[in-house]
Protein backbone atom coordinates (compact mmCIF):
# COMPACT_ATOMS: atom_id res chain seq x y z
CA UNK A 1 0.00 0.00 0.00
CA UNK A 2 1.26 3.49 -0.89
CA UNK A 3 1.00 6.12 1.83
CA UNK A 4 1.88 9.81 1.69
CA UNK A 5 5.58 10.70 1.98
CA UNK A 6 5.37 13.93 3.96
CA UNK A 7 3.03 15.52 6.47
CA UNK A 8 2.32 19.14 5.51
CA UNK A 9 2.40 21.83 8.22
CA UNK A 10 -0.91 23.28 7.03
CA UNK A 11 -2.53 19.96 7.99
CA UNK A 12 -0.85 19.53 11.38
CA UNK A 13 -4.09 20.63 13.07
CA UNK A 14 -5.86 17.61 11.58
CA UNK A 15 -2.98 15.18 12.14
CA UNK A 16 -2.51 16.23 15.76
CA UNK A 17 -5.91 17.31 17.02
CA UNK A 18 -8.44 16.28 14.37
CA UNK A 19 -9.44 19.89 13.66
CA UNK A 20 -11.50 20.42 10.46
CA UNK A 21 -10.97 16.73 9.58
CA UNK A 22 -10.97 14.02 12.24
CA UNK A 23 -7.71 12.15 12.82
CA UNK A 24 -9.39 8.90 11.76
CA UNK A 25 -10.72 10.35 8.50
CA UNK A 26 -7.40 12.07 7.76
CA UNK A 27 -5.62 8.78 8.33
CA UNK A 28 -7.87 7.12 5.76
CA UNK A 29 -7.04 9.81 3.22
CA UNK A 30 -3.31 9.60 3.87
CA UNK A 31 -3.22 5.81 3.70
CA UNK A 32 -4.72 5.92 0.23
CA UNK A 33 -3.03 9.14 -0.94
CA UNK A 34 -6.42 10.76 -1.49
CA UNK A 35 -7.49 14.27 -0.60
CA UNK A 36 -10.52 15.54 1.23
CA UNK A 37 -12.94 16.89 -1.38
CA UNK A 38 -13.42 20.62 -1.11
CA UNK A 39 -16.69 21.65 -2.69
CA UNK A 40 -16.51 25.34 -2.04
CA UNK A 41 -13.15 26.66 -3.21
CA UNK A 42 -14.08 30.35 -3.17
CA UNK A 43 -12.29 30.91 0.18
CA UNK A 44 -9.14 29.24 -1.13
CA UNK A 45 -9.33 31.21 -4.38
CA UNK A 46 -9.74 34.45 -2.46
CA UNK A 47 -6.75 33.64 -0.27
CA UNK A 48 -4.59 32.69 -3.26
CA UNK A 49 -5.54 35.83 -5.15
CA UNK A 50 -4.85 38.19 -2.26
CA UNK A 51 -1.76 36.61 -0.72
CA UNK A 52 0.22 39.23 -2.65
CA UNK A 53 -1.73 42.02 -0.88
CA UNK A 54 -0.85 40.53 2.51
CA UNK A 55 2.82 40.26 1.56
CA UNK A 56 2.77 43.83 0.19
CA UNK A 57 1.27 45.11 3.43
CA UNK A 58 4.02 43.45 5.45
CA UNK A 59 6.72 44.88 3.13
CA UNK A 60 5.23 48.37 3.29
CA UNK A 61 5.21 48.29 7.10
CA UNK A 62 8.61 46.69 7.57
CA UNK A 63 10.46 48.16 4.57
CA UNK A 64 12.17 44.86 3.93
CA UNK A 65 11.95 42.41 1.07
CA UNK A 66 11.47 38.89 2.43
CA UNK A 67 12.76 35.73 0.78
CA UNK A 68 10.63 32.87 -0.55
CA UNK A 69 7.61 35.01 -1.45
CA UNK A 70 5.05 34.54 -4.23
CA UNK A 71 6.76 33.01 -7.31
CA UNK A 72 9.88 32.36 -5.23
CA UNK A 73 8.06 30.25 -2.67
CA UNK A 74 9.89 27.09 -1.70
CA UNK A 75 8.92 23.92 0.06
CA UNK A 76 11.17 22.76 2.87
CA UNK A 77 11.19 19.09 3.75
CA UNK A 78 12.62 17.01 6.57
CA UNK A 79 12.75 13.68 4.74
CA UNK A 80 12.01 10.55 6.77
CA UNK A 81 11.53 12.47 9.99
CA UNK A 82 9.88 9.54 11.77
CA UNK A 83 9.40 5.97 10.55
CA UNK A 84 10.23 7.06 7.00
CA UNK A 85 7.60 9.81 6.86
CA UNK A 86 8.83 13.37 6.38
CA UNK A 87 7.53 16.79 7.35
CA UNK A 88 7.11 19.63 4.86
CA UNK A 89 6.20 23.29 4.85
CA UNK A 90 5.92 26.16 2.37
CA UNK A 91 6.10 29.46 4.24
CA UNK A 92 4.66 32.61 2.68
CA UNK A 93 7.93 34.44 3.36
CA UNK A 94 11.04 34.68 5.51
CA UNK A 95 12.76 37.86 6.59
CA UNK A 96 15.82 37.39 8.80
CA UNK A 97 14.64 35.29 11.72
CA UNK A 98 10.96 36.01 11.12
CA UNK A 99 8.62 33.76 9.15
CA UNK A 100 5.63 35.33 7.43
CA UNK A 101 2.25 33.66 7.13
CA UNK A 102 -0.61 35.36 5.29
CA UNK A 103 -4.25 34.71 6.14
CA UNK A 104 -6.91 36.43 4.05
CA UNK A 105 -9.95 35.81 6.23
CA UNK A 106 -13.69 35.63 5.51
CA UNK A 107 -13.48 36.64 1.84
CA UNK A 108 -12.21 40.02 3.03
CA UNK A 109 -15.31 40.78 5.09
CA UNK A 110 -13.58 40.89 8.47
CA UNK A 111 -10.35 40.20 10.27
CA UNK A 112 -10.16 37.74 13.16
CA UNK A 113 -11.53 39.18 16.40
CA UNK A 114 -9.03 37.09 18.40
CA UNK A 115 -5.97 35.16 17.34
CA UNK A 116 -7.31 31.83 16.02
CA UNK A 117 -5.45 29.15 17.97
CA UNK A 118 -6.18 26.72 15.17
CA UNK A 119 -3.39 28.40 13.18
CA UNK A 120 -0.83 27.68 15.90
CA UNK A 121 -0.31 24.16 14.59
CA UNK A 122 0.82 25.49 11.23
CA UNK A 123 2.80 28.39 12.69
CA UNK A 124 4.75 26.27 15.19
CA UNK A 125 5.05 23.52 12.60
CA UNK A 126 6.71 25.92 10.15
CA UNK A 127 9.05 27.21 12.85
CA UNK A 128 10.03 23.66 13.77
CA UNK A 129 10.69 22.53 10.18
CA UNK A 130 12.53 25.70 9.13
CA UNK A 131 14.74 25.56 12.24
CA UNK A 132 15.51 21.93 11.53
CA UNK A 133 16.59 22.98 8.03
CA UNK A 134 19.22 25.31 9.47
CA UNK A 135 17.31 28.60 9.52
CA UNK A 136 17.56 30.64 12.69
CA UNK A 137 13.87 31.19 13.44
CA UNK A 138 12.73 33.34 16.34
CA UNK A 139 9.15 34.23 15.48
CA UNK A 140 6.34 34.33 12.94
CA UNK A 141 4.30 37.30 11.78
CA UNK A 142 0.80 36.15 10.96
CA UNK A 143 -0.66 38.77 8.65
CA UNK A 144 -4.45 38.75 8.66
CA UNK A 145 -5.22 40.81 5.57
CA UNK A 146 -8.57 42.16 4.39
CA UNK A 147 -9.02 45.05 1.94
CA UNK A 148 -10.00 47.52 4.65
CA UNK A 149 -8.16 46.31 7.70
CA UNK A 150 -5.10 44.31 8.57
CA UNK A 151 -3.90 42.77 11.80
CA UNK A 152 -0.49 41.29 12.43
CA UNK A 153 0.24 38.95 15.29
CA UNK A 154 3.76 38.08 16.38
CA UNK A 155 4.17 34.53 17.64
CA UNK A 156 7.44 33.68 19.38
CA UNK A 157 8.97 30.28 18.97
CA UNK A 158 7.84 27.78 21.60
CA UNK A 159 10.09 24.74 22.10
CA UNK A 160 7.69 23.25 24.64
CA UNK A 161 4.85 23.30 22.12
CA UNK A 162 7.08 21.84 19.42
CA UNK A 163 7.87 18.90 21.70
CA UNK A 164 4.16 18.43 22.41
CA UNK A 165 3.26 18.68 18.70
CA UNK A 166 6.18 16.43 17.75
CA UNK A 167 4.90 13.61 19.96
CA UNK A 168 1.40 13.91 18.41
CA UNK A 169 2.85 13.85 14.90
CA UNK A 170 4.89 10.74 15.74
CA UNK A 171 1.74 9.16 17.12
CA UNK A 172 -0.08 9.94 13.86
CA UNK A 173 2.77 8.58 11.74
CA UNK A 174 2.71 5.35 13.74
CA UNK A 175 -0.99 5.11 12.96
CA UNK A 176 -0.16 5.65 9.30
CA UNK A 177 2.73 3.21 9.07
CA UNK A 178 1.98 0.62 11.77
CA UNK A 179 -1.81 0.96 12.08
CA UNK A 180 -1.45 2.09 15.68
CA UNK A 181 -4.81 3.11 17.13
CA UNK A 182 -5.10 6.90 17.47
CA UNK A 183 -6.71 8.84 20.28
CA UNK A 184 -9.46 10.85 18.52
CA UNK A 185 -8.94 13.97 20.68
CA UNK A 186 -5.56 14.13 22.42
CA UNK A 187 -5.10 16.21 25.54
CA UNK A 188 -4.80 19.93 24.84
CA UNK A 189 -1.56 21.84 25.33
CA UNK A 190 -1.44 23.27 28.85
CA UNK A 191 1.49 25.64 28.49
CA UNK A 192 1.54 29.30 27.56
CA UNK A 193 2.11 31.03 24.23
CA UNK A 194 3.87 34.29 23.50
CA UNK A 195 1.49 35.93 21.04
CA UNK A 196 1.19 39.67 20.60
CA UNK A 197 -0.99 41.76 18.30
CA UNK A 198 1.64 44.12 16.88
CA UNK A 199 -0.41 45.88 14.19
CA UNK A 200 -4.07 46.73 13.83
CA UNK A 201 -5.29 49.48 11.53
CA UNK A 202 -8.96 48.87 12.31
CA UNK A 203 -10.96 48.99 15.48
CA UNK A 204 -13.95 46.88 14.52
CA UNK A 205 -12.26 43.61 13.60
CA UNK A 206 -12.48 44.82 10.04
CA UNK A 207 -16.27 44.61 9.93
CA UNK A 208 -17.43 47.05 7.30
Amino acid sequence: MRVIENLRSSMFKSYCMGLRTSRKKQLEYDKTCTQKKIWDTKYIDWGTKHEVNGVAKWIKLNRKMPKYILDEQESFVIPGWHDGIGLSTTPDGLSGTCLIEIKCSAMGKNTYSEFPEEHLWQVYGQQMIMSHQGHDIEKTHLVNWTPKHTKIWEIQRNQDYEDYMGSLLKDYIEGLVHDKKLTPKPEKYQGKHKIELIYNNGDTNGKI
Partner: protein, 174 residues
Protein backbone atom coordinates in the same frame (compact mmCIF):
# COMPACT_ATOMS: atom_id res chain seq x y z
CA UNK B 1 16.73 70.60 7.66
CA UNK B 2 14.52 69.24 10.43
CA UNK B 3 11.64 66.98 9.57
CA UNK B 4 9.30 68.45 12.20
CA UNK B 5 9.73 71.93 10.69
CA UNK B 6 8.25 70.81 7.36
CA UNK B 7 4.53 71.18 6.53
CA UNK B 8 2.58 68.19 7.84
CA UNK B 9 1.78 66.72 4.43
CA UNK B 10 5.45 67.00 3.42
CA UNK B 11 6.47 65.24 6.62
CA UNK B 12 4.19 62.36 5.66
CA UNK B 13 5.58 62.26 2.12
CA UNK B 14 9.19 62.27 3.34
CA UNK B 15 8.43 59.44 5.75
CA UNK B 16 6.41 57.44 3.26
CA UNK B 17 9.04 57.61 0.53
CA UNK B 18 12.10 57.63 2.78
CA UNK B 19 13.44 60.84 1.19
CA UNK B 20 16.76 62.33 2.24
CA UNK B 21 16.91 66.09 2.86
CA UNK B 22 18.77 66.46 -0.46
CA UNK B 23 15.99 64.63 -2.29
CA UNK B 24 13.37 66.72 -0.51
CA UNK B 25 15.09 69.93 -1.61
CA UNK B 26 15.09 68.65 -5.19
CA UNK B 27 11.41 67.78 -4.81
CA UNK B 28 10.55 71.30 -3.60
CA UNK B 29 12.69 73.00 -6.22
CA UNK B 30 10.56 71.50 -8.97
CA UNK B 31 7.28 71.84 -7.10
CA UNK B 32 6.55 68.13 -7.40
CA UNK B 33 3.67 66.16 -5.93
CA UNK B 34 3.11 62.70 -4.50
CA UNK B 35 2.01 61.43 -7.91
CA UNK B 36 5.38 62.49 -9.35
CA UNK B 37 6.83 59.36 -7.75
CA UNK B 38 6.47 55.68 -7.86
CA UNK B 39 6.75 54.10 -4.42
CA UNK B 40 9.38 51.40 -4.85
CA UNK B 41 9.23 49.60 -1.48
CA UNK B 42 9.42 52.84 0.44
CA UNK B 43 11.88 54.61 -1.89
CA UNK B 44 11.00 57.68 -3.94
CA UNK B 45 11.40 56.94 -7.63
CA UNK B 46 10.53 59.83 -9.98
CA UNK B 47 8.42 58.78 -12.95
CA UNK B 48 9.51 59.46 -16.54
CA UNK B 49 6.94 62.29 -16.97
CA UNK B 50 8.44 63.89 -13.84
CA UNK B 51 11.90 63.83 -15.40
CA UNK B 52 10.46 65.32 -18.61
CA UNK B 53 8.89 68.11 -16.55
CA UNK B 54 12.17 68.80 -14.73
CA UNK B 55 14.07 68.88 -18.05
CA UNK B 56 11.52 71.29 -19.48
CA UNK B 57 11.62 73.54 -16.40
CA UNK B 58 15.40 73.76 -16.56
CA UNK B 59 15.53 74.08 -20.33
CA UNK B 60 17.83 71.11 -20.77
CA UNK B 61 18.58 70.70 -24.46
CA UNK B 62 18.99 67.21 -25.82
CA UNK B 63 21.05 66.26 -28.84
CA UNK B 64 20.25 63.44 -31.23
CA UNK B 65 19.96 59.94 -29.84
CA UNK B 66 22.77 57.79 -31.12
CA UNK B 67 21.93 54.11 -31.49
CA UNK B 68 24.85 52.11 -30.14
CA UNK B 69 23.26 48.72 -30.61
CA UNK B 70 19.90 47.66 -31.95
CA UNK B 71 18.49 44.18 -32.41
CA UNK B 72 14.75 44.54 -31.92
CA UNK B 73 14.11 40.87 -32.71
CA UNK B 74 16.14 39.92 -29.65
CA UNK B 75 14.83 42.89 -27.67
CA UNK B 76 18.24 44.57 -27.38
CA UNK B 77 18.61 48.33 -27.79
CA UNK B 78 21.34 50.61 -26.47
CA UNK B 79 21.32 54.31 -27.22
CA UNK B 80 23.21 57.37 -26.08
CA UNK B 81 22.16 60.96 -25.72
CA UNK B 82 23.80 64.17 -24.56
CA UNK B 83 21.99 66.85 -22.61
CA UNK B 84 23.16 70.43 -22.25
CA UNK B 85 22.16 72.69 -19.37
CA UNK B 86 23.83 76.08 -19.50
CA UNK B 87 27.54 75.38 -19.55
CA UNK B 88 27.13 71.83 -18.28
CA UNK B 89 26.93 68.77 -20.47
CA UNK B 90 26.24 65.13 -19.71
CA UNK B 91 26.03 62.00 -21.87
CA UNK B 92 24.32 58.81 -20.79
CA UNK B 93 23.55 55.42 -22.21
CA UNK B 94 20.18 53.80 -21.95
CA UNK B 95 19.97 50.07 -22.44
CA UNK B 96 17.15 47.59 -22.70
CA UNK B 97 17.48 43.86 -23.14
CA UNK B 98 15.53 40.81 -21.97
CA UNK B 99 17.41 40.69 -18.67
CA UNK B 100 16.39 44.18 -17.63
CA UNK B 101 13.22 44.84 -19.58
CA UNK B 102 10.11 42.80 -20.02
CA UNK B 103 7.95 45.11 -22.06
CA UNK B 104 7.59 44.88 -25.82
CA UNK B 105 9.16 48.28 -26.55
CA UNK B 106 12.92 48.03 -25.94
CA UNK B 107 13.66 51.05 -28.15
CA UNK B 108 11.35 53.33 -26.20
CA UNK B 109 12.65 51.96 -22.91
CA UNK B 110 16.30 52.51 -23.86
CA UNK B 111 15.45 56.05 -24.94
CA UNK B 112 13.60 56.76 -21.69
CA UNK B 113 16.47 55.42 -19.61
CA UNK B 114 19.04 57.52 -21.44
CA UNK B 115 16.88 60.63 -21.04
CA UNK B 116 16.16 60.04 -17.34
CA UNK B 117 19.81 59.40 -16.56
CA UNK B 118 20.90 62.65 -18.19
CA UNK B 119 18.33 64.65 -16.22
CA UNK B 120 19.22 62.81 -13.01
CA UNK B 121 22.90 63.53 -13.49
CA UNK B 122 22.54 67.18 -14.52
CA UNK B 123 20.05 68.16 -11.81
CA UNK B 124 21.67 65.93 -9.18
CA UNK B 125 18.38 64.42 -8.02
CA UNK B 126 20.04 61.76 -5.90
CA UNK B 127 17.40 59.22 -6.94
CA UNK B 128 17.06 56.33 -9.31
CA UNK B 129 14.36 56.86 -11.88
CA UNK B 130 11.33 54.78 -12.74
CA UNK B 131 12.70 53.58 -16.05
CA UNK B 132 15.80 52.27 -14.27
CA UNK B 133 13.83 50.60 -11.49
CA UNK B 134 11.62 48.79 -13.98
CA UNK B 135 14.47 46.42 -14.53
CA UNK B 136 17.45 45.44 -12.47
CA UNK B 137 20.27 47.02 -14.40
CA UNK B 138 22.74 46.31 -11.63
CA UNK B 139 22.30 42.57 -11.40
CA UNK B 140 25.42 40.54 -12.08
CA UNK B 141 25.46 39.12 -15.57
CA UNK B 142 24.77 35.46 -15.99
CA UNK B 143 24.67 33.20 -18.94
CA UNK B 144 22.78 30.48 -17.16
CA UNK B 145 19.17 29.94 -18.02
CA UNK B 146 18.22 29.14 -14.41
CA UNK B 147 19.78 32.36 -13.17
CA UNK B 148 17.91 34.32 -15.80
CA UNK B 149 14.63 32.65 -14.87
CA UNK B 150 15.30 33.41 -11.21
CA UNK B 151 15.93 37.05 -12.07
CA UNK B 152 12.76 37.20 -14.13
CA UNK B 153 10.82 35.77 -11.19
CA UNK B 154 12.28 38.41 -8.90
CA UNK B 155 11.28 41.16 -11.30
CA UNK B 156 7.79 39.73 -11.60
CA UNK B 157 7.52 39.56 -7.81
CA UNK B 158 8.76 43.10 -7.34
CA UNK B 159 6.28 44.41 -9.85
CA UNK B 160 3.45 42.38 -8.29
CA UNK B 161 4.34 43.77 -4.85
CA UNK B 162 4.51 47.35 -6.14
CA UNK B 163 1.08 46.94 -7.73
CA UNK B 164 -0.35 45.35 -4.57
CA UNK B 165 1.00 48.21 -2.41
CA UNK B 166 -0.83 50.67 -4.66
CA UNK B 167 -3.95 48.47 -4.60
CA UNK B 168 -3.88 48.25 -0.77
CA UNK B 169 -3.64 52.03 -0.56
CA UNK B 170 -6.73 52.38 -2.73
CA UNK B 171 -8.68 49.78 -0.73
CA UNK B 172 -7.87 51.47 2.56
CA UNK B 173 -8.74 54.96 1.35
CA UNK B 174 -12.10 53.98 -0.20
Amino acid sequence: MKLDKLPKEDQELVKELGMTSHQYEWHKKYNLERKSYWDCFGKAVPTHPTMQRVAETEGIIFGKYEVVECDVHRGIVVCQVTGTWGDRQCSALGEAHPRNNKNAYPTAMAQKRAFDRVVTELTNSGMYTESDMMGDDFAPSSGFKEAEQEEQRKKTNEQAIAEAIAENKEYESD
